[in-house]
């Protein structure tokens, strides 16, 4: 409980939650916990149930897609980044694996707990969706940019 309380100021200062109403921060904090992952530990694998998301505080996490030649790193995330959107969208399954490239510390938010609070308070639920949609939009733009292979040779 003491540990959970101490997470509130961290959540409050996170760019995604900056300006969030105090009561909403309380709801979020109730579902949050500190976690750490050693180098090369997997946070989750593709196909896992999306029962949490992470706010990375220190370290680096690689988002990996499985390929027949081995895993391909499609993105890395670092301090201040949000990891995991699958908790928002049914059927709540992970599409990618994520691995700690180095010792990583994060705040984990229990998605089951948060979804219950979203359902109980639709205004809070809408706020969460709004905040995550913004993050999803930015990441999608970046993914399209990466897919465009702009540094490759020009099309003939």
């Amino acid at each position: 409980m003491t540990e959970t309380k101490s997470l509130r100021p961290i959540l409050e200062e996170h760019p995604l939650f900056r300006g969030l109403k105090s009561e909403y921060l309380d709801l979020l904090t109730d579902c949050a916990a500190n976690v750490r992952f050693d180098q090369d530990a997997y946070l989750f694998h593709a196909g896992d149930e999306a029962n949490d998301f992470f706010l990375i505080r220190h370290g680096m996490v690689a988002v990996e897609a499985e390929d027949i030649k081995g895993p391909i790193v499609v993105e890395t995330l670092g301090p201040g980044d949000i990891l995991g959107w699958s908790w928002v969208i049914p059927p709540y399954n992970r599409k990618f694996a994520t691995r700690a490239v180095q010792l990583t510390r994060a705040i984990s938010v229990d998605a089951l707990c948060l979804r219950q609070k979203c359902e109980a308070d639709p205004k809070f639920g809408y706020k969460m969706i709004e905040l995550f949609s913004k993050n999803i939009k930015e990441r999608l733009y970046n993914a399209w940019w990466q897919m465009a292979d702009i540094y490759g040779p020009p099309a003939r």
């Binding site: 988002v63 391909i72 790193v73 499609v74 890395t76 670092g78 940019w145 702009i150 540094y151």
Partner: protein, 295 residues
């Protein structure tokens, strides 16, 4: 010339019979003295004039027209150290007939050189400022002279950051130079790639994600950006978003340059001729046309 502290200057080659810069329309013969493969389709070439009594001069940001006799001519940014007056460095990607011919030239072979042409990165005017250099892919070549120049007088500048994005770890240009810059205590270097295997233990993602990692004061920073236009557009948006002035964001544009001196009109973009008025522009001057098609 375009006046003002934050305007880049248009520098036409001086008509001076003692220098190779007289070669406005007639290519001067240069000899290949070194060639190095950077990536599977990209080569760096070092060339020196046959007449070695004549100094070779350029300023960071300028380009030359390289001519392979009997094949064709292309504009290529000068990527070497501006303090050297005995040779020029170019980095060329083999994407067409002329660039393939340039990349195939062996040591001792001859290439025609016109120029240098075009405007320059305003690094003299940026003294006292923090410096951020952002490059994507082959865009590291035109900004490399900035690094040679500023690192030679490092104390004249505030913090220095290089943010560089490439397709994959094998496609980084100048890996030894990158290693050297990363080893310096007075310079901040961050790199990223679009994709990598799991042996790569650094950033994967777009180059704009490196901007928050750099240590600079947006209000007192000059930013020099070079890369594919879409990369520069996203980068500029992020820089403006954190408070860098459009007067202090400089971009290097690329168009179909032919004559190099603003006569033929092939490289016109709105009212500007990229070869003569650019290739380096402050964003404030070209924002109206930047990223628009058919202008």
């Amino acid at each position: 010339m375009h006046g003002g502290r934050w305007q880049t200057s248009t520098v036409l080659p001086r008509v001076d019979k003692t220098e190779h810069s007289q070669a406005v329309m007639t290519p001067a013969p240069y000899r290949i003295i070194r060639r190095r493969r950077e990536t599977p389709d990209t080569w760096s070439l070092r060339v020196e004039p046959y007449d070695r009594t004549v100094p070779v001069r350029f300023r960071p940001g300028q380009f030359s027209m390289l001519y392979v006799f009997g094949v064709g001519e292309v504009p290529i940014s000068i990527s070497g150290d501006p303090a050297r007056n005995d040779y020029l460095d170019f980095t060329v990607r083999s994407v067409g007939m002329t660039t393939a011919a340039i990349c195939n030239l062996r040591n001792g072979k001859t290439v025609g050189v016109r120029g240098p042409f075009g405007s320059t990165w305003p690094i003299e005017e940026s003294k006292g400022e923090d410096i951020v250099v952002i490059a994507g892919g082959l865009g590291l070549a035109p900004v490399r002279p900035i690094l040679f120049y500023t690192l030679a007088d490092r104390s004249d500048y505030g913090s220095m950051s290089l943010l560089y994005g490439a397709r994959n770890p094998e496609d980084f240009l100048y890996p030894k130079a990158l290693e050297g810059w990363r080893g310096r205590f007075d310079m901040d270097v961050h790199v990223t790639v679009d994709h990598a295997d799991r042996n790569w233990r650094s950033n994967v993602g777009v180059v704009t994600r490196l901007i928050p990692m750099a240590n600079f004061d947006p209000e007192h920073t000059s930013v020099f950006v070079c890369g594919p236009e879409i990369m520069m557009r996203f980068t500029v948006d992020d820089l403006l978003g954190i408070g860098v002035s459009e007067e202090k964001i400089f971009i290097s544009l690329e168009r179909n340059m032919r004559c190099g001196v603003g006569l033929c009109g092939h490289c016109q973009m709105g009212p500007e001729f990229i070869c003569k008025d650019g290739p380096v522009f402050p964003l404030s001057r070209v924002k109206r046309w930047f990223g628009k098609r058919e202008v």
